[in-house]
């Protein structure tokens, strides 16, 4: 009888250990996390507009009034520049690293002239840009990217159907490209 009790206690200790191990390692092996889903769209270096129905990797416009575009990028070879222009009632952008941690986020009220012009770069690339600032980046917001890979999420608001077209144009014309001088 005592040995059965002992086995149960050992089992519960093992269960607690397993619980902790699963929780801590789950982000590495789900394969369903947001970054894997964005990568699965095979759209490097350009914004991919999501649909209202779940796409091939299960991403969709969750909010009925927000249209979303995603872009996976890497700053290994050089900085990445995000540009979007156009008149929409509201837009916002978030930059996440490969572990889906937020690196930077902003919206149209915190931007320059209401346009998106953002450069993500590694610390070394940033030093280089600041030493000899290119003229084309005079208005850009420069942000340090702590990791080499990540993804961007651009959202635009279409509160009624009549805003649908400008919002679609805003998202499809948004660019997410490696920056070259």
């Amino acid at each position: 009888m005592r040995s059965i009790l002992f086995a149960i206690i050992i089992g519960l200790v093992g269960a607690a250990l397993l619980h902790i191990v699963i929780i801590l390692t789950l982000p590495q092996f789900t394969g369903k996390d947001a970054y894997s889903r964005v990568l699965g769209l095979y759209e490097m270096d350009s914004f991919f507009s999501l649909t209202n129905e779940p796409g091939p990797t299960g991403l969709s416009n969750d909010d009925p009034f927000l249209r979303v575009a995603v872009c996976s990028f890497a700053v290994t070879g050089g900085p990445t520049r995000f540009v979007a222009k156009g008149s929409v009632p509201f837009w916002s952008v978030s930059i996440y690293d490969a572990n889906s941690n937020e690196v930077f986020s902003m919206n149209d009220k915190t931007s320059v002239n209401g346009n998106l012009d953002l450069v993500m770069a590694t610390p070394i690339q940033l030093v280089d840009i600041r030493k000899t600032p290119p003229e084309s980046l005079a208005q850009s917001i420069l942000v340090e990217m702590p990791e080499e890979e990540g993804y961007a999420v651009l959202r635009a608001l279409a509160q009624t159907d009549s805003f649908e077209e400008p919002v679609r144009n805003f998202l499809s014309e948004a660019s997410c490209e490696p920056f070259r001088r």
């Binding site: 040995s3 086995a7 397993l18 789900t30 996390d33 009034f65 916002s92 978030s94 889906s100 009624t160």
Partner: protein
């Protein structure tokens, strides 16, 4: 003779059984720690950040949702009404009041698993700060029901339990802990015709 292998099997089955069940149920039950709850509405302002707890990281990796950044907005979900009872699509509810300060807000319903409701496209399944009809004091009453209602009707399907999602866009609420003092709309049950 089989005492020792039996005991080992017992210990292992408890370890794996309890370990896996407790993990899955913990991830289903909550998005993590660090929730702010205002009446029935719950939000996780730090769930997308590096500083969040391991449960939130595991949950977001499993759900694979595109979360809202701090400058984008804050998403509140409600699975219960103001009285604390689970929202059921067999009943009708009124969402009454005002939202905290924000540039814009949207309100829609999801299933209990955070999946879209998939109601027919011709039904009004979502409201936002523009499309809602307000009263003289700019407060609103939204009738959430599976049956047609006058004024603001948020149509739901009869699917059992459901959730309401209120997203505040560009809100000072997201960055502050002062959110506790803010008033969120109430969710009042008005009746259960089927029950």
């Amino acid at each position: 003779m089989f005492r020792i292998p039996l005991l080992v099997a017992l210990a292992l089955s408890i370890a794996f059984g309890v370990g896996i069940v407790s993990t899955v149920s913990a991830l289903k039950a909550t998005v993590g720690f660090g929730a702010i709850s205002l009446g029935p509405w719950v939000a996780f302002p730090d769930a997308q950040t590096e500083n969040t707890d391991p449960y939130a990281k595991a949950h977001r990796a499993r759900a694979g949702k595109l979360l809202y950044g701090g400058a984008e907005g804050l998403q509140f979900t409600a699975a219960v009404d103001t009285a604390g009872e689970r929202l059921s699509s067999g009943c009708s509810y009124d969402v009454v009041g005002l939202t905290p300060p924000a540039r814009f807000w949207t309100l829609y319903a999801t299933t209990a698993n955070d999946q879209p409701m998939r109601a027919p496209a011709e039904l009004p399944t979502a409201f936002n700060a523009w499309t809602v009809q307000r009263q003289a004091d700019s407060a609103f009453i939204i009738h959430v029901s599976a049956d047609a209602q006058p004024d603001n009707w948020l149509a739901i399907r009869r699917i059992g339990a459901f959730k309401l999602v209120l997203t505040l866009l560009d809100t000072p609420t997201a960055g502050s802990s002062g959110v506790i003092d803010l008033a969120m709309p109430k969710i009042v049950k008005t009746g259960c015709p089927d029950a």
